[in-house]
Amino acid sequence: MKKIVKAGWSAFPGIKGKMGLVILLFFTGVALFGTWVAPYPKNFIGFDSWLPPSFGHWLGTDSYGQDVLSQMIYGTRTSFWVGILAGLITTVIGVTVGIVAGFKGGWIEESLMRIVDLFLIIPTLALMIILASFLPSMGTMSTIVIIGSLSWLYMGRSIRSQTMSERQSGYVEAARMVGMKDSEIMFREILPNITPVILANLVLVTTQAVLAEAGLSFLGLGDPTNVSWGTILALANANNAVLFHAWWWILPPGLAIAFFCFGFILIGNGILEKYRANRGNAAL
């Protein structure tokens, strides 16, 4: 057990990686055990509105008379899962497209990359809205699917270029020489070698997903029945927290998003730095 913890700890390279891990562990803890920690139930609206921070309400209350701290804690769970799951979906699509395009080359690559280029031209937000109208409901799951299925473009590109440089490597040629199938080469030979890049990308898309969720909620396209950092911020803005000097309603969600993503980015950067140091390769 100790060993596992130690191995896990050292898997996060450098000071940055470890700092990131600590931040992330904190949020994970809140996300997983928040229900027990939160002082008041979710969506409980019984308090006076606009109470400034006090011992009863560490982060005050909002215009509806909800305890902001409790909202933040419940919001962590949503934002956490949106980030993780949407990040995973993005990664699966991005990695598949990237590896196939990078490995197969030829018209497959051409067409995949042209599609990516085109999608990059159209504002993702518009695509998200359009996609939203095709889903049966606007729950957290839909947000995840929408974000996950539309944010793989940059990742696909990055994985592709990485795969292309891997393809030049001797071991790919050697695998072909030996008569391995393309699928085996792609996913058993190349894939493990670009894992750090994938991980670093995964980290990035996860933060992108958290930010996208916040953006969607801010534009009023999030899941209204659930609490997330984005919806808290959106309501704070819509209900004019600025006017009430209610910084306790505006600062926490923004800072939470920032720190959460910061943790991820630190980890990703740690991984990448180690990878680069090992390879002397900065072309990512």
């Binding site: 490597s169 001797g170 071991y171 040629e173 050697a174 695998a175 072909r176 020489m177 030996v178 008569g179 391995m180 030979e189 493990p192 070698n193």
Partner: protein, 317 residues
Amino acid sequence: MSKPLLHVNELEKVFSSRSMFRKKQVHAVQDVSFTLEAGEVLAIVGESGSGKSTVARMLTNLIPATSGDIVYNGESLRTNRQLRKKLPTFVQMIFQDPFAALNPHHTIGYIIGRPLQVHRLTQGDLRSRVLELLRKVGLSPEEDFIDKYPYQLSGGQKQRVVIAKVLGLAPKVIIADEPTSMLDVSIGIDIMNLLLDLKEKENLALMMITHNLGSARYMADRIAVMYAGRVMEYGPAEELIQNPQHPYTKLLLYSSPDPWREQTEVFEVVEAQVQDASGACCSFHNRCPFATDICRTKPVAIAQLENGHQVRCHLYA
């Protein structure tokens, strides 16, 4: 005489990089023919970009030939799909860079064993077969190596692993594309010795690509000198080294450092851009101190000298 193990006839490769508006063509290999028998070593020498690797890649079907024929045991690679499928068990290649040729994420055991599984070559215990292969290439104690990862090995050991992997498929022909150029000389010579021993033991045909004439002489029974995609001179190794005929071969020999040799005449070196093989003239004419008008205007044919020594030069026409 029965069919040769490998017969290559007028092999040609044209790379065309198709951009949207223009087609660009590179004649990487043209009019290359030779044969290879079991137990024989053929060395291909030539400067960088002369098409050596391209020939090797065509022989192993990594890239298709543009024209010409590759015949293994009388079966043509071009027409025989069956052959293409089982080609890995017939011809194998050793790459230049042992550091890159091993996937850093697999153990040595996996790397050597996986091809055996792909081609269903082991009925019995995979592990014992891998151990046997490791022993064959002199990596002992074998048990130590089988679970190691490539980064735990030195360059020479890696190249041995590559050889072990290749041997596992029990090919009849092994093509070694500059197998020692990334290694230190002292270790490279080891690898060359190993290849020679294996050739003897397994009765392999070996094709060795190098740009070091010394290594070619050391290994080969016959040498082919390539320049700009064509074979310029072809013949028994010792004879070719001691008695070069083609000006390009002479130039190569002259340029190779050898502190022990008696001083020979100074060779007039003409510097110029290497020409594409497609030219309708001798592609070496612009660097050749003996070039005459005919070299610049007429394509060259191969001249046969004694002992199977061949030269592609107007001087011998």
